[in-house]
Amino acid sequence: MDIIEHVGVPRYLHTDFPLGNPLGNPFDRDMQLSHTSMALELLRSASEANTIQRSPYSWDGDPGWRDDYSKVTNENRAELAQAGEARRALQTEMKKLNPRQLIPNP
């Protein structure tokens, strides 16, 4: 939500789910259809840029996912620093092989 507000989009349906499942819970066809219908309705009804609507649905798993996302703790700090080093080394190699290769977001 904060990224969308910063970036700016014409219309946005906010589905408050872990990243990876914007349509809702995996294998929940009814919820996926509902979210699609809500998005289409927003497309039709919005009259100005940055129109944001929230879905009433919520994740059916542990609500602790919000605390978990990209969490930096004393326990994983060294591991993250090491992963960053490894990633930069890999990127340097990739650039050498193919300067046009896109570097994805981590």
């Binding site: 990876g20 066809r29 289409l40 940055n50 996912w65 930096v72 620093a81 960053g84």
Partner: protein, 168 residues
């Protein structure tokens, strides 16, 4: 009687994740000296629908790559047939929340089947015959000057009236 402790627990568990702040701290912990910068509009564009949705061709855009040899090895703009809906998509390397969920159900991020249901009910004119995969990358220049214009060209070839962007 209100259980203050319980109330606080509920409030604390249902906040909006501060993704920008988390990303900044995560990058910092990985040793990146420059903070991540998001491309953003000073003035966000807006177009009202030119015709009813029931007469519109709807195109779909995802950040997942095709699960093909090329899609798995090269992140770039791809166009794939909408039907039949792909059973798998390549999502490794994207920032989805892999410790709590999965992307084995393409329906959880690529709404082809629901759009076909809405199409059958007459809610949209049609789903465009192909959908598009866009790469997420650090390079704003790559996105703004190369990928976005190429994507617009493909949407126009598809005679799309509206586009749904569903990033992971």
């Amino acid at each position: 009687m209100l259980n203050i402790q319980g109330f606080e627990t509920i409030v604390n568990k249902t906040y909006d994740v501060p993704y920008m702040e988390r990303t900044r701290l995560y990058y910092e912990a990985q040793g990146y000296s420059e903070p991540y910068l998001w491309a953003h509009f000073a003035t966000t564009p807006f177009s009202a629908l030119q015709k009813p949705l029931s007469e519109s061709t709807v195109s779909l855009i995802t950040t997942a790559m095709p699960d093909t040899e090329q899609g798995r090895s090269e992140r770039k703009l791809y166009s794939s047939l909408s039907t039949p809906a792909p059973k798998t998509m390549y999502t490794l390397g994207l920032s989805w929340h892999d410790t709590v969920t999965h992307t084995r159900d393409t329906g959880s991020f690529l709404p082809i089947e629901p759009l076909l249901v809405v199409q059958d009910e007459g809610g949209i004119g049609s789903l465009a015959p192909r959908f598009h995969s866009v790469p997420t990358a650090y390079s704003q220049r790559q996105t703004l000057e190369e990928d976005a214009p190429e994507l617009l060209e493909r949407l126009q070839e598809d005679q799309a009236d509206v586009a749904l962007l569903v990033p992971l």
